[in-house]
């Protein structure tokens, strides 16, 4: 699985990264989280409001901090 957190270091971007980490660890998924901070690359995903989460080259969330449950559903494909 390929997981990217898009954001240039705002408070919510860090919060998103740690929440994703939490969910991945709880599920025993050992995937590195790629942090995308370059504005050009963030914008090229069609993302205009950060933080955003890209899972397997698909934008899953943008512009808000998803809940743990939402992240679990998005990352594992099944509700917790």
């Amino acid at each position: 699985m390929d997981v990217k957190v898009l954001g240039s270091g705002c408070a919510n971007c860090k919060a998103l990264e740690s929440r994703v980490r939490e969910v991945l660890d709880a599920q025993g998924i050992d995937t590195p989280i790629e942090k995308v901070t370059d504005f050009g690359e963030i914008a090229s995903w069609g993302v205009m409001s950060t933080p955003a989460l890209v899972i397997d080259d698909r934008v899953a969330f943008t512009g808000r901090l998803p809940t743990i449950e939402e992240l679990r559903t998005a990352l594992t494909g099944a509700p917790g």
Partner: protein
């Protein structure tokens, strides 16, 4: 959070009883606030209502409670209303617009759209790469921070609805005119070239779609919590210094050198406001106290606008996409607009 704590939200009655109860509690608290603190400070606390200390203490606790209540109420309502909008929808709405009407629409949408200045750069690239004209994009980027809910709430709470309405009208006018002027100047060549080379891959998703009322209320609650967590120290310091000024600085102290007749007061206020970003919450209670001692209203509004619309951190961010000349033009055009509004209000108010 576990599934057990979420269970009550999923019951058929939904989130409404909680919201209605909270609204009722808010109204009661707001209504009894003045009498409650008068009673606590003067009757229970035994302070003399005619003493300087008594006046300052009563002002501090009453004002803090009032501003906190206003912030909680308005941020919650604004966040819930704005959850129906998104930058993605705004861009789609602005896509085909020409300048003029486009500037008008962009300024209005800048108020209605949830947008954080930390997203200014991806937002700018997204707009320009999608073909929104530079001037229209600028109208959006000026209106969005200037007509912000914290500033409006504090202006309403401290100066009344007329000043808040004047502020909103003037802020929109500056965003529309400044954006239009920047568009007329044809400064596209001063945008960093990578912006135009950005290709948009993937289908942008709309974060405002598919949310339930529970989701929207939860967003409102989270936003109240995160804004208050960020601004409370500034708010307390601002109100504290304001209370001290109320109690100890003589009446009309500022009227002499910063009253409506001094044309230099407004430019000084604008320059002072630039480095004071995100401290709108702390600055306003202070400014209210200065106004009570004679600082002119136009100067007060110009200062406020400069604090929220011309911020150093946002300029540093925008430098990534704007070459220095365009950035300087942006600051100059907005600065002149704020100056004009300040001087105009000092003349007519």
């Amino acid at each position: 959070m576990t599934t057990t704590t979420r269970a009550p939200i999923r019951r058929p009655i939904g989130p409404w009883p909680g919201v209605i109860a909270a609204t009722a509690a808010w109204v009661v608290a707001y209504t009894v606030n003045p009498d409650w603190w008068e009673w606590v400070v003067f009757e229970i606390g035994g302070l003399d209502p005619d003493s300087r200390l008594g006046v300052a203490v009563e002002f501090f606790v009453y004002d803090t409670t009032k501003i906190l209540l206003l912030l909680v109420g308005i941020i919650f309502v604004v966040t819930v209303v704005r959850s129906f909008m998104s930058v993605e929808r705004t861009r789609a709405l602005l896509g085909g617009r020409r300048e003029g009407v486009g500037n008008l629409a962009a300024a209005g949408l800048g108020v209605a759209t949830p947008f954080c200045s930390c997203s200014a750069v991806p937002g700018f690239i997204g707009f320009v790469a999608a073909g929104v004209p530079l001037g229209v994009t600028m109208s959006f980027l000026i209106a969005s921070p200037m007509v912000n809910e914290v500033a409006i709430v504090l202006l309403y709470g401290l100066f009344g609805w007329k000043v808040a309405a004047l502020y909103v009208t003037a802020g929109l006018a500056i965003a529309i005119v400044a954006g239009w002027v920047i568009g007329r100047l044809r400064l596209e060549r001063w945008i960093e070239p990578f912006v135009f080379e950005t290709t948009l891959r993937g289908q942008p998703i709309d974060p405002s779609a598919g949310l339930t009322w529970s989701d929207r209320f939860a967003m409102g609650r989270d936003e109240v919590r995160s804004i208050l967590a960020r601004i409370w120290p500034f708010l307390l310091v601002g109100i504290g210094v304001g209370a001290a000024i109320h109690g100890w600085v003589p009446e009309d102290f500022f009227a002499e050198f910063a009253g409506p007749d001094n044309p230099l007061a407004v430019p000084i206020a604008v320059v002072l406001g630039i480095p004071l970003y995100s401290n709108a919450a702390g600055v306003l209670p202070l400014v209210e106290a200065l106004h009570a001692k004679g600082l002119a209203m136009g100067t007060v509004l110009a200062f406020m606008m400069s604090v929220v619309a011309l911020s150093l951190p946002e300029m540093i961010l925008l430098r990534r996409v704007l070459k220095p000349r365009l950035l300087a033009t942006f600051v100059a055009v907005v600065g002149v607009g704020i100056l004009a509004v300040g001087l105009l209000f000092n003349m007519i108010l």
